[in-house]
């Protein structure tokens, strides 16, 4: 089980804010989480919940001059926040790699797939072009590209979306990174291709032994791959725990809402799916207390204070409801449907 593995990444009180004309936007607000070697962490939340920005901060890729990154990101015992760009660059692609949502635009259109993988290999390893190309060919074979020799010399536009995402995965894993951040790797793909890509991702991380942070808003993807899950809301962690904790015994009302919005595969079909009332909060004017409180059907006096993540056995929720209150509140939310 995860506990036995060594700690790879430890994020503490990470905040990313942007100065804008309408005020300071708190995209990530004091986020903390841990990741062990070889573990798959699913990060779930709606658009604008700070999933992508927090992981870009881990990569050191928050390049906006108006952005402020605070807190601590420790990767293999090394502090990344405030690290010189040159050192960060040496780690990027070699120790921490990232794949992005849309494979259609993620590859430079004017270079062949092989050229781009070779570029990735040569950026971090002193290999000859020939050796790098050989390695690129192997990688393409490993991610299940049919006829990898021919694919090396093809341009991105000559490949289908699924093929391109395979190439992107091959490129990201070219230097066998300890951590792979996958930002919605299947969102832009056909449903039939999604499963294949997830399979490739899972297969590759097992062979290489990379830990994976899987950003998604697809609970199905999380259920399939993730060891642990972090639910994010308004730039904060709402709930963290093992995948089975979260699916079988979710604590946070926001998680209930997320799970309730998936149509069940068995049993009677609900008349209408649960939706969470209200809209996500403006990140400029976050409420003082729990960010979810304005939309929460179970809120009470305490919710005007900010809840800390707390729980038992690595299952934590940022919620003041205790076990008894949860038992009462969750069915109420499900039947209310539209919340308060």
């Amino acid at each position: 089980m995860p506990e036995s593995r060594e700690l790879l990444l430890s994020v503490r009180e990470l905040s990313v804010s942007f100065r804008t004309r309408s005020g300071i936007v708190h995209a990530v607000d004091r986020l903390s989480f841990d990741l062990r070697q070889g573990e798959v962490l699913g990060v779930v939340g709606e658009s604008g919940s700070g999933k992508s920005v927090s992981m870009l901060a881990v990569m050191g890729l928050v390049t906006d001059p108006n952005a402020i990154v605070q807190g601590s990101i420790v990767f293999r015992g090394q502090e990344l926040v405030g690290t010189a760009e040159k050192r960060m660059r040496a780690m990027r692609g070699r120790d921490i790699a990232m794949i992005f949502q849309d494979p259609m635009t993620a590859l430079t259109p004017v270079y062949t797939v092989g050229w781009q993988i070779v570029e990735q290999i040569q950026a971090h390893q002193p290999l000859s072009k020939k050796a790098a190309r050989l390695q690129a060919r192997e990688l393409l074979g490993a991610v299940g590209m049919p006829n990898p020799d021919a694919q090396l010399d093809r341009f991105p536009h000559q490949l289908s979306g699924g093929m391109r995402q395979r190439a992107v995965i091959a490129m990201a894993l070219a230097c066998r990174p300890a951590l792979l951040i996958a930002d919605e790797p299947t969102t832009a793909l056909d449903v039939t291709v999604q499963a294949q890509i997830l399979e490739v991702l899972d297969h590759m991380r097992k062979t290489i032994g990379s830990a994976v942070i899987l950003i998604t808003h697809d609970m199905g993807v999380v259920a399939e791959l993730a060891d642990r899950v972090m639910v994010m809301y308004a730039g904060r962690a709402a709930e963290t725990g093992t995948a089975s904790d979260l699916f079988n015994d979710p604590w946070h009302p926001y998680t209930w809402g997320l799970l309730g919005s998936i149509p069940p595969l068995s049993g009677p079909k609900p008349r209408r799916l649960l939706s969470i009332a209200g809209a996500p909060p403006s990140l400029v004017h976050l409420p003082d207390g729990c960010a979810f409180a304005p939309r929460c059907p179970s809120r009470f006096e305490l919710c005007s204070k900010r809840p800390a993540l707390s729980g038992v056995l690595e299952h934590d929720a940022a919620c003041f409801l205790d076990e008894d209150a949860r038992v009462l509140a969750r069915p109420a939310m499900a039947t209310d449907g539209a919340g308060p």
């Binding site: 692609g93 790699a97 004017v110 570029e119």
Partner: protein, 323 residues
Amino acid sequence: MMLLLLRRLGQMLFVMFGISVLAFAIFFATPGSDPSARIAGRNAAPETLIQVRHDFGLDRPLPVQYVLLMKRLFVTGDLTSFVNRGQKVVPEIIAATPVTLSLVLGAALLWIVAAGVIGTLAAATRGSWLDRGLMIAGLIGVSMPVYWLGSVLNLFAQSRMHDSLLFSWVPPLGYIPLSEDPFGWFKTLVIPWFTLAVLYAGLYGRILRGALIESLQEDYIRTARAKGLSESRILLRHALRCSLISVVTLFGLDFGALVGGGALLAEVVFALPGIGKLTFDALQTLDLPVIMATVIYASFFIVASNAVVDIAYGFIEPRMRDA
């Protein structure tokens, strides 16, 4: 790629044929006017008119006239100017072409290099004082008319400061063929090159900066950063490489137009006997055969350089190869 090349060449020939027909029609088939009178020039003697009519086959049907004209332009090359008393037109154009090509090629090389440096530096440091300074300098360059800048430079280099160390090397105005004296050729052309390049360097620098900044927002730049590549490699190998299309498109048009006689102002100011100067002189004396020939020559050059640009697209942009 081969197919693209062949198809583009075929298209080019077709367009050139169309242009030659149009140019012919404008000069010979305009209703209500007698082409022989215009070809012969002002106050021509009746004998000249008769000779022109016979020479150009003006008493025969239009298609025959067209074929005759094309034959004299491209096959026998003996199209004659009547205003200038029997001067042959085609050799004149052939003599003027290397002058214009020397001027425009040198200037183009200069402005492409300058614009590349200006645009890349400005995009890399966008928002900084360097970026602003370069863009203002570019704007000043664009705003200075060629004839003004050329005249000012001539004033200094040829008279006011000709004896100073800075300009003592400058030869008198005019053109020295490359085959005769390469160093002299270079020396006469340095100032014209610079004058012509200033205008285009500013323009191209600004356009390249815009294209680069747009490329830098693309997803593949984020991917390149995530690969751990250096900023300069990202800028040059990824962003710049993808921004070339806009510059190459513009370059094809400008280059074609300049070689086709658009460098007229620079040629007149620096007394370079190129195509622009030839057209300019022909217009002043209403020398119709020369005007006709230069119009056809210019349009052919624009078409040809556009075809070259389209073929260059195939190299720059792999997505065009399959189209």
